[in-house]
């Protein structure tokens, strides 16, 4: 964090933060960390809480591991990473249980699964262990956000089309229902989350031609 040598928000640092939101999106491009967390996207609210949790854990894990990088014995590197990530996730879980109990019940075991989210482990291993704390924090933050955006987009469409609601409030006017509109219950079921992610990848890759698989 040295202003004279490099401004805090230099072009390079901004790229770390914003790249994962589009071009290097961890879910759409790197296919990391899909894991389980899509299971909580049936409604926008749990998806949002989950996104915030992942961003917090990803950013803090990258920061802590980067700060410790010179002290960690390489032979127990993975174990140290797991312990730090698990520690952060337990704290997040405890806070959710204490302050947003209803949502934490909907998230059930999926908070614990942040530990095994490949993005967090992957960014720590690939970036934080070789870089200074500040860029690492931005990298973790950016990747967490890139992931959170996907969760929120999926949650938005599933709740809107599946229940006609957003954030638990009805947004599709009654006149639509009277005119014969029906909620698509299938959107709330697990398979649709996968199909929506597939479509997001399709759209994203139509605009970024260089990441298309052969």
């Amino acid at each position: 964090m040295n202003r004279e040598r490099e401004p805090i928000f230099s072009a390079k640092n901004m790229r770390l933060l914003l790249g994962p939101l589009n071009r290097d999106n961890p879910v759409a491009v790197q296919i990391l960390g899909i894991c389980s967390v899509l299971a909580v996207t049936a409604k926008l609210r749990p998806a949002f809480v989950m996104a915030v949790s992942v961003v917090a854990v990803a950013a803090l894990a990258s920061l802590i591991m980067s700060a410790l990088r010179k002290t960690i014995p390489s032979r127990i590197r993975i174990i140290v990473q797991l312990v730090v990530i698990a520690f952060l996730v337990i704290i997040v879980d405890q806070i959710l249980k204490a302050y947003v109990y209803e949502v934490s019940k909907q998230l059930s075991v999926f908070v614990g699964l942040i530990i095994t989210n490949c993005i967090i482990m992957g960014r720590v291993e690939a970036f934080a262990l070789g870089n200074k704390p500040w860029p690492s924090l931005l990298d973790g933050l950016g990747n967490g956000l890139g992931y959170g955006v996907i969760l929120i987009v999926v949650g938005f469409f599933r709740e809107l089309l599946g229940a006609g609601e957003l954030w638990g409030r009805q947004v599709i006017p009654d006149s639509f229902y009277e005119a014969g509109y029906m909620n698509n219950g299938l959107m709330l079921l697990p398979p649709m989350a996968l199909i929506i992610v597939g479509v997001i990848i399709w759209i994203q890759r139509s605009f970024n031609k260089d990441v298309v698989d052969k």
Binding site: K97, A98, Y99
Partner: protein, 240 residues
């Protein structure tokens, strides 16, 4: 210092474990009261639902409603006697463990509600197993100890859209007005799959289309849970 020497690794790992354990214990202790309050609040909300009060708003609102309507609680044993000094709320929080005991060692909680008109009701927690996992609920009885005034059910993992419908209020509402005694004999309220258009009798309700196994399990849960309260209920009826 050599970062890969065994001494360094052992010291590093030990320090890490100690720091993490201390920090986690501290966080857990600091947040435990609030977490406990959330869990109790959820049970209070469910108890209120069984007497037809949907608590809106946050924890304070639920606490206030609970304090207004729930006037007492006690626990009964297998001989039908009230257990001195038992904490009904604690029993309720550990209902799974209570039902794991042999029937004559169980101490079963009862909650008493009184509404604005002074009408008393008795709320009995239920515990059983559904198709895929545990189901539970609350059955509110009128002060005659035989007419059901309301019921709510919860489940852990019944089939969405089929068995999981037991948690919807329309299913619980089917139990209102039923009676658990016929000519002084305990018959419970059963869940039945019937043909024809006759409405169900006073001791049964309709099952759920596509969710019959879970719905039958609710009937079984009510019968088996009430069985433990029967000695107490019989005593109450004799005293009348």
């Amino acid at each position: 210092m050599n970062r890969n020497s065994n001494t360094y690794i052992v010291v590093y790992a030990t320090a890490m474990v100690v720091i993490v354990a201390l920090a986690l214990s501290f966080a857990s202790l600091a947040l435990r009261d609030r977490q406990q309050a959330n869990i109790e609040n959820e049970m209070k909300r469910a108890i209120l639902r069984s007497i037809g009060i949907e608590a809106q708003g946050g924890m304070a609102a639920v606490d206030a409603l609970y304090a207004r309507y729930i006037v007492g609680s006690f626990a009964v044993d297998a001989r039908g006697e009230v257990v001195e000094g038992a904490n009904a709320f604690e029993l309720l929080a550990n209902l799974r463990a209570v039902y794991a005991l042999p029937p004559d060692e169980r101490e079963l909680p009862v909650f008493v509600s009184r509404d604005g008109q002074g009408v008393e009701r008795y709320i009995i927690p239920l515990w059983g197993s559904g198709l895929w996992g545990p189901i539970w609920g609350y059955l509110a009885l009128e002060s005659d100890w035989k007419t059901v005034s309301g019921a709510v059910f919860y489940h852990q993992g019944e089939t969405p859209g089929l068995g999981a419908e037991i948690a919807e209020s329309w299913f619980g509402d089917r139990f209102a007005g039923k009676t658990i005694f016929r000519d002084g004999q305990f018959v419970s309220v059963s869940v039945e799959k019937r043909r024809g258009t006759e409405p169900p009798g006073p001791h049964s309700v309709d099952a759920i289309t596509g969710g019959t196994i879970t719905a039958f399990a609710v009937g079984r849960m009510i019968r088996e849970s009430l069985q433990g309260y029967l000695p107490f209920i019989q005593l109450q009826k004799e005293n009348e």
